[in-house]
């Protein structure tokens, strides 16, 4: 299939899906109230937009991490990056400290800092094994995730804001506002553009770090720059919508199967498909058990965990 054809099909699908999602929900909106209904325009629309942006952020950071770590199982959630970001964000939310740095507000800033810490620890742990096997990285991710989750639970208990933080933690777009959309927008746009224009280096890295070097790539600089970028994108998504996993795993995997691993196609297609997946998952989250709402993180884990096992098995053969 041609890349352009696939982009058109996916984009059309996203539009139809978003429009449908706007009109599906617990509260029925009469056709004559469509243009004025606050439920549609101040509750559902920002929610859809936010899910879409989180989809771009998480899918793209998955592509980047898989590329630079040369590991098809790398995903911000599985590597513990999301959990690390969660610790930072929870600290920010519960302590109400106010810091700003380079235009970032407290919550995303702390999320970024702790996510970066998690990445560094995972990377160093995975280096302990002499064989650079994909499983070592995953094991390191499991360990860091478990530790971060424990710290997160502690923060929640100590802060006494069990309900609010816990609900956010499970991953949800339910409290979305246009403010959140504006917060995520620059991360999504800038992150997507940077990774797209570095697809040359990401492609060269597919040949291995050494060959990439002899192709003129400053491997260490690019690798760490890209890891920091992916971490930043994940942290931004987590600080607004909590822990939503597996987007960065499922989406790039399918696009690779369809279009091959060339990053110039992979990055935009994965971003587009990431938005579709999360808008779909969020629509399911708020309608399947209506009027009750399931956190979207739970929906993604229900789909994603079996998928992870499938990829692991496929990799073994």
């Amino acid at each position: 299939m041609r890349k352009r054809t696939l982009v058109y099909i996916l984009f059309l699908f996203l539009l139809i899906l978003s429009a449908a999602s706007l009109f599906i929900g617990t509260v029925k909106v009469a056709p004559q109230e469509m243009l004025t209904s606050p439920i549609l325009w101040t509750i559902r629309l920002p929610r859809i937009l936010l899910a879409a942006l989180a989809g771009i952020l998480l899918a793209t950071s998955g592509v980047i991490l898989q590329g630079v770590l040369r590991n098809p199982l790398a995903d911000p959630y599985i590597l513990g990056v999301s959990a690390g970001a969660g610790v930072g964000a929870a600290l920010g939310i519960s302590t109400k400290i106010n810091l700003t740095f380079l235009g970032m507000s407290t919550v995303p800033l702390l999320a970024f800092f702790f996510a970066l810490l998690a990445v560094l620890v995972v990377y160093q742990l995975s280096r302990l094994s002499s064989r650079n096997s994909p499983e070592t990285l995953i094991l390191a991710g499991v360990a860091v995730s478990a530790f971060a989750s424990a710290v997160l639970a502690l923060i929640i208990i100590i802060s006494g804001q069990l309900q609010s933080i816990y609900f956010w933690l499970l991953g949800s777009f339910s409290l979305s506002s246009y403010n959140d959309v504006l917060t995520l927008l620059p991360y999504a746009v800038i992150g997507l553009l940077i990774s797209y224009f570095y697809s040359k280096e990401l492609n060269a890295l597919l040949l291995g770090e050494e060959v990439a070097m002899t192709l003129g790539v400053e491997v260490e600089k690019i690798k760490w720059g890209m890891i920091v970028l992916a971490t930043l994108m994940t942290a931004a998504a987590v600080s607004v919508s909590g822990l939503v996993g597996f987007v960065g795993l499922i989406v790039p995997h399918f696009i690779r199967l369809l279009m091959g691993p060339h990053h110039r196609g992979l990055i935009p297609l994965a971003a587009l498909s990431g938005t579709i997946l999360l808008v779909l998952a969020d629509t399911a989250a708020r309608t399947v058990l209506s009027p009750m709402e399931i956190p979207v993180g739970i929906v993604m884990a229900l789909i994603g965990a079996p998928f992870f096992l499938y990829v692991l098995r496929r990799k073994k053969r």
Partner: protein
């Protein structure tokens, strides 16, 4: 004209000195084989010339350009390196993989031009893999994949090609094929490769560089280098050097 000059080179990796006082010069258009026993520093030499390992002392010049003082992106337009083992990338076609060789010639904000595609096609034709263009690299045989890997390096349009044991895991038919292709390529560029099979190297290279424990034992035409005395020095093996009656190439025969 001198393509590669190595002067008084000392180098190694992770604090372990591997090569000591290596000096030699290679002319443009030569196909040079680096030979010697396991652990003598063949690969280290190749990797240092390619810029993957640092030069501790001495200097390496590729066409008067000191590789030590050259940016990696610039170096990649002059030197291409083919490692001993490469894993095929799942989902890449032969055409995709060869096109990656154009990486050092691309700008940040523009992608492969028609010219880049033509160079890549030329590289595929040179290696006789044009027909495989749309095949996935993970479905190729070892000999086919090795030609793809070399075409990828050729698409870089390097003036110097470095290959680490390009024939080591191929059957004899593919060994000869790869060596013939390399011999043909050297008409337009300089080629340096490491080999284990001395007879094959003698048959196809213009010059051999024989190493032993990080030092040069001999450097010159194959019949000058492959003498019973040098073989004993490098490998501690008794051998008689005969000549192929048809081609007059030096040929080793082991003595009991």
């Amino acid at each position: 004209m001198t393509a590669l000059s190595v002067f008084n080179l000392i180098c190694g990796y992770e604090g372990k000195e591997v090569l000591r006082g290596i000096s030699f010069e290679i002319e443009v258009g030569e196909f040079v084989g680096i030979v010697g026993p396991n652990g003598c520093g063949k690969t280290t030499l190749l990797r240092t010339i390619s810029g993957l390992l640092p030069v501790w002392q001495g200097c390496i010049k590729v066409e008067e350009q000191d590789i030590h003082k050259t940016e990696r992106a610039e170096l990649a337009k002059t030197i291409a390196f083919v490692p001993q083992l490469m894993e095929p990338i799942e989902g890449f076609t032969v055409a995709d993989m060869v096109l990656l060789g154009r990486t050092p010639h691309l700008n940040r904000f523009s992608f492969e031009s028609e010219e880049d595609r033509q160079v890549a096609r030329w590289a595929r034709e040179e290696l006789r893999i044009e027909k495989l263009s749309k095949t996935l690299v993970n479905e190729l045989s070892g000999g086919e994949f090795q030609r793809v890997v070399i075409a990828r390096a050729l698409a870089q349009e390097p003036r110097l090609m470095l290959l680490d044991e390009p024939t080591s895991h191929l059957d004899i038919r593919y060994q000869v094929r790869i060596l013939k292709l390399l011999r043909k390529l050297r008409q337009t560029r300089t080629i340096v490769a490491t080999f284990h099979d001395l007879n094959m190297a003698a048959r196809f290279c213009q010059k051999l560089l024989l190493l032993k424990a990080g030092e040069i034992v001999a450097f010159g035409r194959p019949d000058e280098v492959l003498t019973a005395e040098n073989i004993w020095k490098a490998y501690r093996i008794k051998a008689e050097v005969k000549r192929n009656p048809k081609t007059r190439h030096a040929r080793l025969v082991l003595l009991p």
